[in-house]
């Protein structure tokens, strides 16, 4: 990891307008948690539904997408990434530094709000909330790696990332059960389920071991692919 790239990355995430989105989405989740708590009272049933539907399936992937796609895609698009690449730094170090920033943002703007919303919704059920937090940490890391790689691949990383989240995980994943084996969102749910038996999200259950291994494979694999992609960066474009 390179401290300078991390620092520049932080500036680039918060220096752009889409950085505001990072703040809006978690506020919406917490406000909704307050409203649900006021209307339905504390409990794992409704609480679990809100945390899963809004926290894990919407907030987590969107925050990871905004953070990861603000880091490399604009720099590759406008060519300024060349100032990072024309340095004697291993490409993997650049990717890991960018990933660290994206993951840090995801923890602050997705995982932490899920934790807060969890306590609002479920009251003192620490195990239940912890399950969502651990699931979100694993899922957040995998999403960041996937979207970072997408950013090195295409200038349309945000659109493709959205299509992945909405179509693949949301729509197709909800209908075709086989998709769940290759869907970060469903692995996140499987990990959360394994931590607390009060969480019931995924059926048929994928198994925590599979979900953890698949998450690790995506994390490491996407980072390696992104580094490979950066090491073959063309200054004159890929046309």
């Amino acid at each position: 990891m390179n401290a300078t790239i991390v620092r520049l990355g932080m500036r680039s995430v918060f220096g752009r307008r889409r950085g505001v989105l990072l703040l809006i989405l978690p506020v919406v989740l917490i406000l909704l948690a307050v409203v649900v708590r006021a209307l339905a009272g504390a409990g794992v049933g409704t609480g679990g539904d809100v945390l899963a539907a809004l926290g894990l399936q919407v907030l987590l992937p969107l925050i990871a997408l905004i953070a990861a796609a603000s880091l490399l895609a604009p720099e590759i698009d406008d060519g300024s990434v060349v100032y990072l690449l024309a340095k004697p730094i291993p490409r993997m170090t650049i990717v890991v530094s960018k990933l660290t920033v994206a993951f840090g943002c995801t923890v602050v703007f997705a995982v932490l709000p899920i934790l807060i919303a969890g306590f609002i919704l479920a009251g003192g059920q620490a195990g239940f909330v912890l399950a969502f937090v651990l699931g979100a940490l694993a899922g957040g890391a995998a999403y960041c790696a996937l979207f970072t790689w997408l950013s090195t691949l295409t200038r349309h990383a945000v659109v493709i990332g959205l299509l992945y989240v909405l179509l693949w995980e949301g729509l197709i994943g909800g209908v075709v059960s086989g998709v769940r084996w290759v869907s970060i969102g469903w692995w996140t749910g499987a990990i959360a389920e394994a931590v607390s038996n009060k969480v019931q999200l995924v059926s048929p259950n994928l198994g925590a071991a599979y979900a953890v291994i698949a998450t690790l494979v995506v994390l490491v694999g996407m980072a390696m692919l992104a580094a490979r992609r950066l090491s073959g960066f063309n200054l004159t474009g890929d046309e």
């Binding site: 390179n2 401290a3 300078t4 790239i5 620092r7 520049l8 500036r11 680039s12 220096g15 406008d78 060519g79 300024s80 060349v82 100032y83 990072l84 690449l85 024309a86 340095k87 004697p88 730094i89 291993p90 490409r91 090491s231 073959g232 960066f233 063309n234 200054l235 004159t236 046309e239």
Partner: protein, 304 residues
């Protein structure tokens, strides 16, 4: 002392050939890479800076392959043509970040030195987003110089610079060359290259068309007619004084304003034009070599 060597290098994009079987060696001193727009200059600089893989042949820096070799950047300073920088930083923060990425022992001092070299100390603490084109160019230059590289590659560095900045950068490049650095810059303007580089490499349509000392190439050019479009405060008077000078073969007024001039000896023409204008108190508003003349200059070079 570093040497970049291209050995039978070709680069194609699908069925379009951008660089065609080019072999050249760029050694210490200033080399000008000259060619019309779209000739393959940027492709060559990308190849020489390790940001493009050759489709055939090899590109090496001191016998080491450049492609997928980040360690080579210890020796290379690159000034790309594209203007995008980290606009949310100040000039000083940007150059310091470059120094840190090179893991220099005292990044702040190195950045201050580089900024001073390009005369950007005063504006260094302003955000890059407020910079003019010329200032951006100089900050790019500072970021390329910050680690004291033995090779400096610049893609169209004079674009967007005003005459004073242009003179300063030319002086800077000459100094870098005299210090034994390998400096290569690209340009599509012959006069620009001629003022800085001892060695000129000419590329046309992806091919290496000519290579040699600027004096030899200049002699080839001397008797070549060049066409310019001039705009001045008094085109008619300017036409009448220019036609009296032996360097000018023809001058005609354009119906929409301005003046077409054909110069027989462009070296002399470049000297007498401002002189004559000053003597007659004519204000020169624009002096543009016409595209046609530029193309024909290169065509003439190839034919020679």
């Amino acid at each position: 002392m570093s040497t970049i060597a291209l050995d039978h290098v070709s680069r194609w994009y699908h069925n379009v050939v951008a660089v065609n079987d080019v072999s050249m060696t760029i050694g210490p001193g200033v080399t000008g890479l000259l060619g019309p727009n779209g000739a393959g200059k940027s492709t060559l600089i990308s190849l020489m800076s390790g940001f493009l893989a050759p489709s055939a042949g090899s590109v090496t820096l001191d016998d080491q392959q450049l492609w997928r070799n980040p360690d080579a950047y210890r020796k290379i300073g690159l000034v790309p043509e594209r203007e995008a920088l980290f606009d949310y930083l100040t000039g000083r923060q940007f150059v310091t970040a470059n120094a840190e990425l090179h893991k220099l022992p005292d990044p702040g001092a190195a950045a201050a030195r580089a900024l001073e070299t390009v005369e950007m100390t005063e504006a260094a603490d302003r955000a890059i987003s407020t910079y003019s084109k010329g200032m951006r160019q100089r900050v790019k230059m500072a970021s390329a110089l910050v680690h004291d590289p033995s090779v400096l590659l610049l893609d169209e560095p004079f674009n967007g610079m005003d005459p004073r900045q242009r003179m300063h950068l030319m002086e800077l490049l000459r100094t870098m060359g005299a210090q034994g650095r390998t400096v290569l810059f690209s340009s599509h303007i012959l006069e620009e290259v001629e003022q800085v580089a001892r060695q000129i490499e000419v590329v046309i349509a992806g091919r290496h068309a000519a290579s040699g000392d600027f004096g030899a190439i200049r002699r080839l050019m001397t008797n070549r007619p060049n066409r310019y479009v001039l705009h001045s405060s008094d085109d008619r008077l300017l036409a009448s004084v220019l036609i009296r000078d032996p360097s000018v073969r023809g001058a005609s007024l354009r119906s929409q304003g301005g003046l077409d001039v054909e110069a027989g000896d462009f070296g002399r023409f470049a000297q007498v034009l401002p002189q004559l204008a000053r003597e007659q108190s004519i204000r020169l508003l624009e002096v543009t070599p016409t595209d046609e003349s530029l193309e024909s200059v290169f065509a003439y070079l190839v034919a020679s």
